[in-house]
């Protein structure tokens, strides 16, 4: 059994989970689909956890042992894993299953891209990444990113639901009626960002600590650093937006979507379009 095979099965499970959630939205009378969607997602998460562990072990068997967080392929796989993990936490805590329909596509997209479009070979770690800080930094950053991905999915749902609520009260048969009420979505958006913001903060702090340890500067305005700060500013604005009235709901949902767009740029755009120290993705 190789990690690569397990990652392929994981990808299929995430696809199945997403389809089940879509079915749950269409068939609002059958709660079975939503439950199935969640359980398949959890199954995929478990399998992916094993696969990541296995890949870690495989790197040691190759004599170049290191945590599987060292290149773009490994980071995209890990990103998918964290998205499903954060979704799982919200699902267990708040039990609004159908948000899976707007969250699992992100996880699936990541896995499909990694499995179909990227080289997956295990490579030795370049000297710049040979540090335990890599582990702390990458794990905290990606957990934060994942929470923002979930918040973005929920915000899209919010915007659809809110628009629907405005137009039609009578048309209760519509698909959108299975969505949680907009008040709940707004709250879940906030809750996901409440998970993501401390993690991103910790991610930036561990990154700074590592940079200081390895290069003697905790902050050098490298594009990746700057973008992570931009993302941080946006979500700090989001949190304050909730305190001033009038910035909850729609505007908060848009801020959350813009925040996630900036997050994705910070993660991928910087590597693909700008130059700097984090040549990581390449």
């Amino acid at each position: 059994m190789t990690s690569s095979l397990l990652f392929n099965i994981t990808t299929l499970l995430y696809l199945a989970s997403m389809l089940a959630f879509f079915a749950a939205i269409v068939n609002r009378t059958k709660p079975f689909f939503g439950t199935a969607g969640s359980y398949i997602a959890f199954g995929g998460l478990l399998l992916q956890t094993v696969a990541i562990g296995l890949r870690w072990k495989e790197s040691y068997l190759l004599g170049i042992g290191h945590a599987p967080l060292s290149n773009l392929y490994e980071s995209v796989v890990f990103f998918s894993w964290t998205i499903v993990l954060i979704y799982g936490i919200l699902d267990l805590k708040y039990r609004y299953r159908v948000i899976g329909a707007f969250v699992m596509p992100f996880a699936l997209l990541g896995m499909a891209w990694a499995q179909l479009g990227m080289k997956s070979g295990i490579e030795p770690l370049v000297p710049a990444l040979q540090s335990n800080w890599l582990l702390y930094h990458v794990i905290t950053c990606f957990l934060g990113y994942a929470a923002f991905a979930v918040a973005c999915g929920i915000s899209i749902m919010y915007l659809i639901r809110e628009k629907h609520d405005k137009v039609a009260q009578a048309n209760e048969q519509s698909i959108v009626a299975t969505f949680p009420p907009s008040r709940v979505l707004d709250d879940l958006n906030y809750k996901s960002i409440m998970i993501g913001f401390p993690l991103l903060t910790l991610g930036i702090v561990t990154g700074a600590a590592w940079a200081n340890y390895a290069w003697g500067t905790y902050w050098s305005w490298d594009p990746k650093e700057t973008w992570s700060l931009i993302v941080w500013f946006i979500y700090a604005a989001f949190l304050h937006a909730r305190i001033t009235r009038g910035w909850a709901g729609r505007r908060a949902a848009w801020l959350s979507i813009i925040g996630f767009a900036a997050t994705i740029f910070c993660y991928l755009g910087v590597n693909l379009l700008l130059s700097g120290l984090h040549s990581y993705g390449g």
Partner: protein, 459 residues
């Protein structure tokens, strides 16, 4: 305020306290920061400068876009954020402090109307018994209540984690602490660079602003080495360093291996493995094709020189023994690149023991005979040097921020008031966070209370 019209100082104060300013500053900072990730910072590479027009270049220079994170307007925005933070905290902190240190212990009518979960329980029994029962339940389920008596009515008050209200202010303070740390670092620290050849010592480094800085001690490079993975990718760059005080090794700092991600620190100054290279001098001779009129030609490792006919020569690589690369040959050899007059570049090897083979290069060297005599070569290490006395302040700020955010988000100040009269128990409470969860808790608490009270009319 008595008058409805605001005075000017008051409006200025309100401006600095407002959350709208916070939103504005945070979003503006986010948007403007993008500029510096698109336009190269520091000394932009010449290719970039050629790619933009003169007008644009002037504009960018004028706006400070090439060092934008230190430009006046960026600093102004950060100052605005700091002032905003400070003003907002000064305005709100006293009230919060009062809430924490002098809690309202009696639920009066005006408080009562603000509580979302007010419940009245009709019961029998005298006030004293009821009071003791309620107090016992509160102590077991929540926290020990403080009891106040007024006109035969008992007021019970209990609260949990009131200090969690301070967390937001700790977060805001932490931003200022980090700024202070950064300012200390930029005033009293420096970033520099130094190259040390193998076997040599240095006592001075060059700062980024091109100032020479005396370390007060010396650093000696014993040896530098590079190791590779089987596939040829670099695995480790290692400098063996010794710190010298008055020319003598310092105990504990003798032959310390320094690699990427594992620096050496001494007296607050840290040395980081950053680059490396070769240093050395090589001797060539250039003569007429028959060997007469021989003249020496000295070239540095990786350096270049001019040949008599004016074409340039770059020394690319040398070896003390060519037999490792070309069987059948021996002795030192050098690989050079010559830029010919016709614009062509020609790369070839110059030997020391094979004049016959050197003769084949005559067409590229203007008909003169170039021979390699050998040279001495050794490694040097490039170290980044940093001193930052503000870094500890920054870490304290970071820890304060992370802990503060955690407490601000996930801990709540919960308060419960109970009024006990004979025959009625009225209970209400509020929470600074997570009202939904608190509502549930209150419902359970009321259920438990009812079990403990002698109920007359169970409603």
């Amino acid at each position: 305020m008595t008058s409805s019209k605001k005075s000017i100082p008051q409006s200025i104060w309100d401006f600095f306290c407002s959350l709208k300013l916070t939103m504005f500053t945070l979003i503006t900072l986010a948007v403007l920061s993008i500029v510096g990730t698109v336009i190269p910072q520091g000394t932009p590479p010449p290719e970039y400068l050629h790619s933009i027009s003169q007008n644009k270049l002037k504009l960018y220079k004028g706006l400070g876009f090439f060092d934008m994170y230190h430009s006046w307007w960026f600093i102004l925005l950060l100052s605005l954020l700091s002032l905003n933070l400070l003003a907002c905290s000064v305005k709100r902190l006293p009230g919060i402090w009062r809430t924490i240190t002098r809690p309202v212990r009696v639920m009066d009518d005006s408080l009562e109307t603000t509580l979302p979960n007010l419940t009245s329980i009709i019961t029998s029994g005298d006030a004293v018994t009821l009071r003791d029962r309620v107090a016992a339940v509160m102590k077991a389920e929540f926290a020990e209540p403080v009891i106040t008596e007024a006109d035969g009515t008992y007021h019970l008050f209990a609260q949990k984690t009131p200090w969690s209200r301070l967390a937001v202010y700790a977060v805001h303070l932490s931003v200022l602490v980090i700024f202070i740390g950064a300012i200390i670092g930029s005033l009293f620290g420096y970033k520099g660079f130094v190259n040390i050849p193998e076997g040599e010592s240095v006592g001075k480094v060059m700062s980024r602003s091109e100032k020479e800085i005396d370390l007060g001690f010396a650093v000696h490079l014993e040896k530098f080495s590079v190791s590779h993975y089987p596939n040829g990718a670099p695995k480790e760059f290692k400098s063996i360093l010794t710190v010298l005080e008055n020319g003598k090794p310092v105990a504990g700092y003798d032959r310390v291996p320094v690699i990427v991600n594992d620096p050496l620190s001494y007296k607050g100054i840290t040395f980081y493995q950053s680059s490396y290279g070769k240093l050395g001098e090589h001797e060539f001779t250039i003569s007429d094709s028959d060997g007469s009129n021989s003249q020496p030609l000295i070239v540095k490792s990786g350096g270049s020189t001019k040949l008599p006919d004016g074409s340039g020569l770059c020394l690319q690589e040398t070896t003390p023994d060519i037999s490792r690369f070309q069987t059948g040959l021996s002795g030192p050899a050098a690989q050079v690149e010559v830029h010919l007059a016709n614009g062509e570049n020609k790369t070839f090897v110059v030997y020391s023991n094979n004049p016959a083979m050197n003769r084949m290069n005559l067409p590229y060297t203007g008909g003169k005979l170039l021979q390699y005599r050998g040279g001495e070569e050794f490694m040097y290490t490039g170290l980044q040097v940093a001193k930052d006395p503000g870094v500890w302040v920054v870490w304290v700020g970071c820890i304060l921020m992370v802990v503060g955010i955690y407490v601000a988000f996930f801990m709540a100040h919960r308060r419960i008031w109970v009024r006990v009269e004979s025959g009625t128990v009225t209970i209400g409470g509020n929470s600074s966070k997570n009202q939904g969860g608190f509502q549930l808790f209150m419902e359970q608490l009321v259920t438990k209370l009812k079990k403990q009270l002698p109920l007359e009319d169970n409603k």
